[in-house]
């Protein structure tokens, strides 16, 4: 058992992480942490999002690193291999995660980009499966993996892989329905630890708030909390809120279960749900559905 755990962490960036998250996903499922909203359509989106990029990405990344990078950055292979491991980790952690913060924020705040990111938010539940749940075109066009591969090419291989592994663990733990941060808020003597941690990295409380169905209950905040590995960016730019509470409902208020293939492959396939953001001729950003007593203020997903 210990040897298996060792092997998982040694191969975190290849097969280790998918195996680890698969185990966590099964635990979440067995403990009923995926609520009853997870039907066959949702399961198909999660399954495709987990499996297909792993098959498709290998040839794409091989082409990118072996063919494209030597042309784009000629003579620069290994040029930064002199950078010490510690500084490499710090530089890459900032470069990678700040870029992803911007990637994420722009997908929420620029109306044109929202539909590429919508699939990640349509899940009416939280869990490690949501971490993988993405539109395929979005993954191929906007993945951070290209940055990591470029850094490996430039000679920052070990720090890049270390950061990629650390980030995958933190971000998947923030999506998990196992509320590992809850004890930090319950026990008063742990509050100083909680104070630092929730400002530094994404936790289930802050990231679940980002996946909430509403931003109007004082807990959910899909209009912010964009941080992936580090929550620090939200603190610096004033785009985050910390409540130490978990939303009552997740997803998109006007979600009507668009077909899994439309969510996974939009814009190649369109949704048949009328007025869906993913349907042919549908709105770029649809206003949130609100209960009559709340729906005074005009609200959008952006």
């Amino acid at each position: 058992m210990i040897k298996l755990a060792e092997a998982v962490f040694q191969h975190l960036n290849s097969w280790g992480l998918p195996v680890l998250l698969l185990i966590v996903g099964i635990i979440e499922f067995l403990f009923g942490l995926y609520n009853k909203q997870a039907d066959r359509n949702e399961f198909m989106i999660d399954l495709m999002s987990f499996a297909i990029p792993k098959i498709l990405f290998r040839p794409v990344l091989a082409y990118f690193s072996l063919r494209l990078l030597p042309v784009l950055l000629p003579g620069m292979q290994g040029v930064f291999s002199w950078v010490p491991f510690f500084w490499g980790v710090v530089i890459i952690a900032v470069a990678d995660d700040l870029t992803q913060y911007w990637n994420h924020r722009l997908h929420h705040q620029v109306p044109f980009l929202w539909r590429f990111h919508r699939t990640h938010h349509s899940a009416p539940y939280m869990g490690v499966a949501v971490y993988f749940r993405n539109n395929l075109i979005h993954v191929l066009l906007f993945s951070q993996v290209y940055l990591v591969v470029t850094l490996v090419y430039l000679g920052l291989g070990y720090p890049a892989l270390f950061v990629a592994g650390m980030k995958a663990l933190i971000v998947s733990a923030a999506h998990s329905s196992i509320l590992w941060d809850k004890p930090l808020y319950r026990n008063k003597w742990l509050h100083p630890v909680a104070w630092v941690l929730e400002r530094f990295i994404s936790t289930p409380a802050t990231h679940h708030a980002h996946h909430a169905v509403t931003s109007d209950d004082g807990i959910g905040y899909y209009k912010g909390n964009f941080g992936n590995m580090f929550f620090l960016w939200d603190i610096i730019f004033g785009t985050g809120i910390i409540t130490r509470k978990y939303p009552g409902a997740y997803g998109i208020s006007h979600y009507e279960r668009d077909e899994w293939y439309a969510q996974f492959l939009w814009p190649l396939f369109k949704s048949k749900v009328a007025d869906s953001e993913l349907s042919a001729g549908g709105p770029m950003v649809r206003m949130d559905d609100e209960p009559a007593e709340i729906g005074v203020e005009e609200k959008t997903r952006t």
Partner: protein, 55 residues
């Protein structure tokens, strides 16, 4: 649907701050080397030229 002006302004402001944040760890690393009098990039150049000579 267009990008709101206030959102665009905030994006620009935060984008400029981000340039500084990207540069910060690189600046700190060179500051660290300067204080300790180290030049690891020179060592690598020397190492590369030794290998080239041996060939």
């Amino acid at each position: 649907m267009k990008l709101e002006k206030t959102v665009a302004r905030k994006l620009l402001r935060d984008g400029i701050i981000s340039l500084f944040l990207y540069a910060l760890p690189v600046i700190l690393m060179f500051l660290y080397f300067y204080i300790r009098g180290e030049r690891p990039w020179k060592e690598q150049q020397g190492h590369s030229s030794v290998i080239a000579t041996k060939k």
